[in-house]
């Protein structure tokens, strides 16, 4: 601890340079943290997918509808505990760029299937008692400033009402919170019975099913049983674990995500290189001070530790600030103005960030530190 003062004094030597280096490192880690959130958004919260849930969709494409009657058939299959259906409503709120998911569901069953959607009993009862009631996630409510009791008009792009009316009005009766960080709080849910009776066509057809299974280890077998049940029917299905479904969806974003990630990773390292070079330069220019320390009795290893320590303090401060700033920035919202359903930095990325800070500190510090360690006192003092 007593050396910390020495270390800190060295960093204060050229305040401008130290500050700028610190800021560069901060920027690098701000970028890192921010990208973690973007990556997470593109992968749509795969991390939080339920292991005990399958998604069952039409074999040809998720846009093909399935009969409502499949629910009871799926529930009879061995290993299945529960099944609920959802349908893509695809409506527009005010303008088409306000993109978010609206889905008609059966309230009680749906909330049971997704315990991570936390709704107070009061609001739950209100939903059960209001046919035109809608429940939305905290994220989307904040985005549009909706409050309980609001009447929200949604313009249908697919599902017009009987008589051709395109505007559906819903009463906001509940706002759910996510139990976990990655929970999607951008959903707009309303009652399937209301939807089914009011829609102009497609009565009895639903989008896809979420199925809870009793044994996650037997997910593959249960999925096969479900697909076999509907094989050779007009509406064949494809069942897969929720995680795989989301992963498949994320993969659709394809190479772009990968390319963006890789070029940005390259830049991340460029910034680190620049910062590392500056740190190395800062060590080189005080060779004779390091030699002095050795002359008065600091060991080679002691000097090595001192230089490495400096690098660690600087990187830790810069990197820590960067990650903290990223955290702050991410909590302010996503860059597209809310079209990403989840946007947060996963803890695993923070852990990787901290590991990177340590690695960066080591790499930036080790060469000058070794140089300092090998320094021949007699030569260096003469300079």
């Amino acid at each position: 601890m007593k050396y910390l003062y020495l270390l800190w004094s060295n960093l204060k030597r050229k305040k401008m340079r130290t500050t700028l280096t610190l800021l560069s490192i901060m920027v690098a880690f701000l970028l890192f943290g921010y990208l973690g959130a973007i990556k997470q958004a593109f992968s749509q919260g795969i991390d939080v997918a339920g292991l005990d849930r399958l998604i069952v969709r039409h074999k040809v494409s998720i846009i093909q509808l399935l009969p409502e009657a499949y629910e009871s058939r799926i529930e009879k299959i061995e290993g299945v505990e529960d099944a609920v259906h959802q349908t893509w409503f695809g409506g527009v709120y005010q303008k088409p760029s306000n993109f978010f998911a609206q889905m008609p569901v059966k309230p009680e069953e749906y909330l049971k299937m997704y315990p991570e959607f936390v709704l107070s009993d009061e609001e739950r009862n209100a939903w059960l008692n209001t046919r035109s009631g809608a429940v939305v996630g905290r994220g989307i409510a904040d985005r549009f400033g909706w409050k309980l009791g609001d009447r929200i008009p949604i313009n249908a792009t697919i599902w017009s009402r009987k008589g051709g009316e395109r505007t559906w009005e819903f009463d906001l009766v509940g706002i759910y919170d996510g139990a976990e960080k990655g929970t999607d709080t951008s959903q707009f849910l309303f009652r399937y019975d209301f939807f089914n009776e009011s829609r102009q066509f497609g009565e009895g057809l639903v989008g896809w099913y979420t199925v809870r299974i009793s044994d996650p280890d037997r997910a593959a077998i249960t999925a096969e049983l479900i697909d076999a049940e509907f094989a050779n029917s007009p509406n064949e299905t494809k069942a897969e674990p929720e995680g795989a479904f989301l992963q498949g969806f994320a993969n659709q974003i394809g190479d772009i995500g990968f390319i963006m990630m890789s070029i940005i990773v390259a830049v991340f390292f460029t910034i680190l290189l620049v910062a590392g070079n500056t740190m190395a330069y800062a060590v080189r220019e005080r060779t004779n001070e390091l030699a002095l320390l050795k002359a008065i009795g600091f060991t080679d290893r002691g000097v090595l530790a001192l230089v490495l320590g400096e690098s660690f303090v600087l990187t830790l401060l810069g990197g820590g600030l960067g990650l903290a700033l990223a955290w702050l920035l991410v909590s302010l919202g996503d860059p597209s103005g809310g079209s990403l359903p989840v946007f947060f930095i996963p803890y695993s990325d923070l852990a990787v960030g901290i590991a990177l800070i340590a690695i960066m500190a080591f790499i930036a510090g080790i060469l000058p530190a070794l140089q300092a360690q090998r320094l021949q006192i007699a030569d260096a003092l003469r300079r």
Partner: protein, 399 residues
């Protein structure tokens, strides 16, 4: 006048003198150059993705073309038009007639799942059911390998983009859709437009396969001239039998790419801004180091009677030169690596894949270099001011 000349000659000589010492600071100068190059390369690279998507949409559209959807629908997938609707639309004024056929192509649009070549996971691939005039209406349509499908048969042709991105679409292979086998018989191009990501079949074969009866989702039409649009639109929207939304093809396609374009541009700009700050810090560091290593020299010049402004300008020009070099390297790198790079992604608006090529346009290159120069300007300005403000006597005494 003489004073002016003197001033300029001071600037020139100080700057040249300064630049001659540049090689001595090669280490820190190189890192600044590469820092800026990296930032510019990423900015240009990411924006070239957005630009590429935009270009694909532009390639898809010709100015005489219109798209008609059911009103309220924001994309083909959400739209639906009955056989009667299609008939009324085809009677609309201003549509081009060619060999006695009206250039109006009613089409079906569905999505099928096919594995992505690189990952093997499913992707939403658009499949279009077309009629005979489709090839004449859609811009640049041309079968480039194999043959056109036979009308009335379960055969498909595949866009070059789809062939490249998704597995199992080579001529001779078969895809399974709606429990039927569909052999691939040809490959087509569509002037680099979005149709190149699609699979085309005869609409009259697709309708029963998807139990669509005689309904369609969109009508693509070719007008006699771009000017005929207003008349066409007015006629359709005022027709009491119809409830449709006619759009220029360009408007339709650009509406389809807005969300994706904004997302990528937004991300790209934000990331470039963050990185720009990093590069500014790097440049500032480099220039402060450069200035402090020249403290004595600058003080000597000042003592000899040189004014402050030539010193400021010499420092600024050094930093701008480094930035220009970095910007040029970064922009060329982006151009070499990314221009024409082919990829596909999910377009949220149409919920289907779109294949495109990264487009590093000259405008983007210019933007990249301007960005670099801004970094260089900010990175050089403060150190330059510091250099000019140094008290001459103190600086001369310094080691």
């Amino acid at each position: 006048m003489a004073g002016m000349f003197n001033w300029i000659s001071q600037i020139v000589s100080v700057t040249l003198f300064n630049l001659r010492t540049l090689p001595q600071r090669i280490g820190s100068s190189t890192t600044a150059i590469f820092g800026i190059a990296g930032v510019v390369a990423v900015m240009v690279g990411v924006l070239s993705i957005a630009q590429g998507i935009l270009r694909t949409m532009e390639n898809s559209s010709s100015s005489e073309n219109v798209v008609v959807l059911r009103s309220g629908a924001t994309s083909e997938m959400m739209s639906g038009l009955s056989g009667d609707d299609v008939r009324f639309i085809s009677e609309g004024p201003g549509l081009l007639r060619q060999d006695d056929e009206v250039m109006a192509s009613p089409e079906l649009f569905v999505i099928i799942n096919l594995p992505i070549r690189s990952t093997g996971t499913d992707a939403n691939v658009p499949m279009r059911g077309v009629t005979r005039v489709a090839g004449d209406v859609h811009k640049g349509f041309q079968v480039v390998d194999g043959r056109m499908f036979e009308w009335g048969l379960n055969e498909v042709i595949v866009g070059v983009g789809a062939l490249r991105e998704f597995a199992g679409l080579e001529i001779g292979s078969t895809i399974t859709v709606a429990r039927e086998e569909w052999p691939v018989v040809g490959i087509f191009e569509a002037s680099g437009g979005i149709a190149e990501t699609e699979i085309w079949v005869d609409a009259s074969v697709l309708q029963p396969a998807y139990r669509r009866g005689n309904s369609y989702q969109a009508v693509y039409g070719r007008l006699k001239s771009p000017d005929a649009f207003q008349e066409f639109k007015d006629a359709l929207t005022s027709d009491p039998r119809l409830n449709v939304k006619p759009m220029r093809e360009a408007d339709y396609h650009s509406s389809q790419s807005t969300v994706l374009y904004n997302l990528i541009t937004g991300l790209g700009t934000l990331i470039a801004a963050i990185m720009g700050f990093g590069a500014i810090f790097g440049a500032l560091n480099t220039m402060y180091t450069a200035v402090s290593s020249r403290t004595r020299e600058i003080a000597t010049l000042r003592a000899l009677g040189f004014q402050a402004s030539p010193v400021v300008i010499s420092v600024l020009s050094e930093s701008l030169l480094l930035a220009l070099l970095g910007g040029a390297i970064g922009a060329s790198l982006a151009w070499l690596v990314f221009d024409g790079f082919r990829a596909a992604t999910l377009n949220f608006s149409s919920f289907s894949q779109v294949a495109f090529a990264f487009d590093v346009s000259p405008a983007l290159l210019v933007r990249g270099i301007v960005f670099a120069l801004i970094i260089g300007l900010i990175g050089g300005l403060f150190p330059a001011i510091r250099a000019a403000r140094q008290p001459v006597s103190a600086a001369l005494r310094e080691l």
